[in-house]
Every structure is written in C-alpha cells, then in structure tokens.
Subunit: 414 residues, 2 copies
C-alpha cells in the first residue's frame, strides 16, 4: 500500500488496464486556474457499474448518470467529470447542463449520449457554466492518452479541497489471463458513508457481466468507501463508477465463483487504498484511526456502533490531541442506538488504543498514560472496542478533527 499521507507514486504502464484513455484540462470552473475537467474513455464499450449517494438531495449529474446507466443497459464508453461546481440544487437548468455535457462528449467520442456518465463536484447551488465544458471537449478528446501520467492528470483534475491526488492499482489472474484494476478518487470534506466516496473511478480490463460488476462494486464499496468518515456529512454528488472493458481477454465473469472472488479481492484492494487516502487527506487531518468493533451480536450492530464512534466530534478531537480519552469512545458507543434501544451489553466492553487496554468490563483499566499517548500520536491509530458478546464485527476509518478543518470550512465560499 502507498504511504497514506503523501501522493502515491506514479503507476507504471504495465499497471494501466488495456483499452482505456485519459485526458484532463483547465476549463475555468475553478477560480484558481487549477485543472477542473477530466475524461476517461474506453476504446470499446465497457460494462459499467455504479454506486451513488444516498442523500435525498441528488445532484443533476447523479440523476443523469443513473438515467444513462438504465438507457445503455450498463454499457458505456466514457465518464466526464468536472470539479469546482457540484451542479446540485440547480433545477432544470442543471439537468440540461449535465445532459449537454454528456451529449458533447458523445459527439466527440462517437457514441450515443447515454453511453457517457457525468460527474460533478464542488460548490452546491451555483449554476454550472456548461459552455466552458462543452468548449473544452474537442481538445480534451484529442489529447487522450493511456499513460500513467494521463491517469494521474485525471486524478488531479477532480480534486477540490483535497491536498493531493489519489490513485491505486492491483492485478489478479482470472483463468490464464492477467487482469488489471486501477482507480482514482477525490474527497476531503462532506465525507460520510452512503456513499462516502465523493467521486471514485475504477477501471479494469476484466470481462464481467453487468450484474456481476454491480455486485462486485457494491460489495467492495460497503467495506471501503462506505466505511470511512471525515465529517459526518453525506455529499449530494457521491459517485463511484466501475468500468470493465474486457480487453484482458478473460472468460466473462457471469456468476459467483473463484473468478469473481479473485476479481473482488483486487477490486477491494484498490477501493480500500483509495478510501484510506481520502480519510488521510480529510480536511485538516493529521492522523487516521481504524475503529474496529468486535464481539457484537451482529455485523450490522457492530457497524452502527463503529460508525457512531467514527463520527463523534469528541473522539475525533481527542485523536487530534493524541489523548487516550477512552471515556469519549464508550460514551459515543453508548448513544449509538437511540432511539432504538441497544441490545448491547456495555458491562463487558473492552477498549484498546494502539493495542493498549484502557477499559475492561466497561470500566477504567490502569494503563501507562505516556505509552498510550505515544501510540495515539502515530499517523495510523488502531482503536478496538470489543463487546465480548458475539461474533459481530465491523471496521470504520476516521481522521482527527483539527482546527485546520474549521479553518478550511469556515472560509470555503466567502
């Protein structure tokens, strides 16, 4: 795995799935002049799977991409994404802008508009200046390349408050064929499960049926992008898209089995790396905590508790101060089940911070304060909450809550 707190090393050409091309540009949506437009296309029609935000307020590109996935029976040619403007709460005009973006890309690529998916990220409620995108498209399509640098350019063009671009890669064998999986993602704020990712694009040259692609993506997202939290706010634009163009030449994966499992393992690896990079680059973050809940009556209960602890402002500020204040962890776990009263027994709960037992049987357990503080000062802090009562288990990742987060978000717009 790449270092979490720095930009990943550039991929090698042999890691890039065959048959994809990338391009990015500055079209002027960001006042900073940073790149804000990205295109991913497949030389041949690719099977597409996607997971979108669970927010009831959905941005126009989310609605249009869902429409296009249905209309194309999950068989697409490209994804076009802009940063700097979320095209959300923009009404009919916003929907028209998203459709115009897809249509313009389709014209240049030479495919049907419904074979293009659209993503946007940035400020909510500001009309999207779609002419800037449409005007840049001919040039964008012309300068496409399948190089690792071009892929890094896409990763860089979709970021907003991120401090660095994020990508990851994995390979696996399916039958006799080597299959490649790469992905890039953006996200630093408004990050909370369902979907947590903001934007994520995962590409593979594996051949999968649409239903297996969707199944694999949902499974991977559940334990990676949906298992991270920066600030408890679920975005209106979250989109995770998988394109599988089959150019690896493996027999198409049409059902569960060893081939699907091999592919899912590689897919999960890429998704997990990207998700952790998002948490590590969480607005103002200086460290990442892995919140593992064990011994709960069910995985679902464990996940609910892990999510509540991961979202607690008091747990996250304690993490910022490398403070082994386990009482806040127990208190957050304790409020997890209101209004459905918990069937959880807190009297046997054990808490470990960086491996050090600080709470046993639901109460204080003597520990070396200095040693615990040192463990909490690491860039990656494992926190374990064990209810000692069942086989339910879940893992969530969160970052610390620093003054930097406030600084970034108290001055984002004005």
């Amino acid at each position: 795995m790449n270092a979490l707190f720095s930009e990943p090393a550039v991929l090698s050409s042999s890691q890039i799935p065959r048959g994809f091309a990338f391009a990015s540009a500055t079209c002027g949506l960001k006042a900073s002049g940073a790149p804000d437009l990205a295109l991913i296309s497949s030389d041949v029609t690719a099977v597409a799977a996607a997971v979108f935000t669970a927010n009831s307020v959905k941005a126009a590109p989310v609605l249009v991409s869902k429409e296009h996935l249905r209309a194309s029976a999950q068989r697409v040619r490209a994804v076009i994404a802009n940063s700097g403007n979320a095209n959300c709460a923009t009404g009919k005009q916003g929907l028209a802008a998203a459709r115009a973006t897809a249509a313009a890309a389709a014209r240049e690529i030479g495919c049907a508009p419904e074979q293009v998916l659209v993503c946007s990220t940035g400020i909510i409620g500001v009309p999207l200046d779609v002419k800037r995108i449409v005007g840049s498209l001919p040039r964008l399509v012309k300068c496409q390349s399948n190089s690792p640098q071009a892929h890094a350019g896409v990763a860089n063009a979709i970021i907003t408050t991120d401090t660095r671009a994020k990508w990851a890669a994995a390979t696996c064998r399916i039958g006799k064929k080597e299959v490649r999986v790469i992905g890039c993602a953006k996200g630093a704020g408004m990050i909370h499960p369902q979907m947590a990712t903001m934007l994520g694009f995962v590409l593979t040259d594996a051949a999968l049926s649409p239903s297996q692609a969707q199944r694999a993506l949902e499974r991977a997202a559940g334990i990676t992008f949906n298992a991270i939290s920066v600030d408890g706010d679920t975005s209106t634009n979250d989109s995770l898209i998988l394109l599988a163009n089959g150019t690896a030449g493996n027999p198409e994966i049409r059902s569960a089995g060893i081939h699907l499992r091999q592919f899912v393992k590689a897919l999960e690896s890429v998704c997990r790396e990207l998700a952790l990079m998002i948490v590590a680059d969480g607005e103002g973050a200086t460290r990442v905590a892995e919140i593992e809940v064990r011994g709960a009556p069910s995985d679902a209960l464990a996940a609910h508790v892990a999510r509540t602890v991961a979202g607690s402002s008091l747990v996250k500020t304690a993490l910022a101060g490398a403070d082994p204040n386990w009482g806040r962890i127990l208190a957050a776990a304790g409020r997890a089940y209101w209004p459905k009263r918990a069937s959880l027994d807190y009297s046997k709960a054990e808490i470990r911070l960086g491996g050090i037992v600080v709470c046993r049987r639901g109460q204080a357990h003597p520990f070396n304060e200095a040693a615990a503080h040192k463990k909490m000062s690491a860039q990656y802090v494992p926190i374990l909450l064990d209810f000692k009562g069942g086989s339910g288990r879940a893992v969530m990742w969160t970052c610390d809550f620093t003054a930097g987060y406030v600084k970034i978000n108290a001055s984002y717009r004005t």
Copy 2:
C-alpha cells in the same frame, strides 16, 4: 431574556422560590481549585421530577438518582452535585460512591438517603474520590442560604468547560398565589438532545402532584433542552431535575387545566433561557443559530431534519465564517432520512438566512451576498427551511463550530 453571551444578572431575593437553600464549596475534585460541589435542599419534602440521559451508558449518579426517585415516590429533600468527575464507567465502586454521597448528605440534612438525588459531571472513567465530597458535607450543610448569591454559587460550582454560570427565573400566578420558578444549568460540550442538558436544576415553590410535575418537565424539556446541539455527542450524565416544594401555598396541581398551563409556561421560559445559554456557551461558540423547519408532513419529520441540520459540521463551520452557504443546509437536510428514505419533497424547499431568501423551489435564488453575510455575522442567526408541504414544524438551536472547539477538546485531558 438575559443576554445570551454574558453571565446573567444576579436574581433578586423576591425571585427565589420560598423554602429552598443553597450551598457550594471547593472539595478538590477539580485540579484548578474552582468550586466543584453544590447542594440544593428544600426545607420541606418536595415533589421531584426528572429527565435523564438516553445514552445506554449511564453514569452511576444517574442510576442511583433513578433508584431514589422510585424509592421515595418522587418526594425528596435535596440534590447534591459535583463537577470535575462524571463518576461514569466506574463500576460497582462508582455506584457505591454515588450512594455514599447521598447517604452522607441525608445524614447531615436529617432525611432518608433515598430523599437525596445525586449528579456528577466531568471526566469519564476516573474513580470518584468520594471522601472529598463526604468530608465537605457537614460544612456545606451548615453554610446553606436562600440568597440569590448562594444560588449563583451553585450554578458556578457545577460548570466544567462552561465559560460562565447559567441561571434564569420566571413567575406566574396559580389561582391567587404567586409562584416562582428558577433554574440553573451547566453544559458546553457533549451536548446533543436526549437529554441535552448535562445538568439542570429547576426549583419552584408551586405545589404539583408527582405525575403532573413529571409531565410538565418532560414537555418543557422536549422543546428546550432537547432542542439544542453543540457537538452531537449525548452525555452519559445528563440530568434535569425539578423540585416543587409547594411553599407558595397554591392548590396542588393534580390534573391538566389552566393552572398546569400557567405553570408550564413559566417552566418552559426558564428551561428555554437555560438551554439557549448552554448553546451560546457551547465550546468555542461565537454565535447561535435558530434552525426552524416548517412545511414538513409532520412535527416529527421536521424535528428530525432540524436536528440533522443543527448537527452538521459543515453547517456549523459555515456559521463560524458567517458564510451564507445554504447548499450545506440543503445537503444536510437531504441526508436526514437515510436509511428511512424521506417522504420529504425537496423540490419546493425554501431557505431563509436571517430573513433573506437564498434558495427557492430547491434551487439557488439570487440574493445580496454582502447583506446575507452581515445577517450571518450576528450573534443570533435565524435559519428557516420551509418545505412548503404541510404543517409540521420544529425548532432547534445550535452554535457555530470554531477552531476554539477543537482547541478545547484536543487538550482536555493530557
């Protein structure tokens, strides 16, 4: 109403309910040497009502006070409270400490132990040095007084990260008798409904039956203490206690009717003032927002949306920056109903910031940015989210999320 951002003016003697006495002291639970022990007693047996935390992890004093309310049939003589230690996650030893505190107070006052309620607030998971409390009790009981200054002393002795003490008063007439209601409260962090109050003690000389006292308190708490949020973390120690000693001489209120309504109005006024003081003194807070949701299908739906908006880190940091970033309000409202999908229609939503319409029919509405920024810069910012779809309505109060909050909570313990 008192100014929200300063300590309230000292009450006059004529506002203090008859038949109560107050005392406070430093017993050494706080390293700072600030007062940390408070006693409220009634000369005669008072009817007691209480609302406690909904956190599944409940502190020992909460468990013991619940026990005592049952055992005494809601008829008590005193409340003893300490700050500096929450006596939570302290096991059997913690329960014994809470019981010993009540027993020692009962001995000095001359009543049964179950006629004393116990409250604690402060750090979780550290054994309570109960000898310090027990040793201070004889002196504490001796120096009791019914003066406004002594009441202010109690308010001051229960605070932790609060920057100022909080109290409020109201009067009403019940039949031919003037009835007085006063209250004090503490709380600045780990503040989120169910219960939100941390500690609140409301005293009245009105005569009420136990069931009407409980009913009145629950009603008042629902729209005051349970309608505020500082950081989304529900404490393990929250306790709101009402003592009604009947010394005003009014005919006992035993059922619903005009007398109960008059009393509830005064009670709500005191509770609302105290709740708003808690939000205004929220850790690091510089301003308060009133989040009103209207036009929802039901009050319950409106309350759920209001609570989610009030708890959003992005809404609260925008408030810190006086940033009219209404997209964050809409996005928070949009995620309010996962996993129960909203039956809310966001397409007609209107948002007003300080009276200025910034969003209409779910999308951007042109507004004067400078004027909106000025409205958001006030100490009290009304935010209205109107779904234009029903008569459901709710109000929540929240404070801004500043670097000060992080500073306070990243360094609380170590």
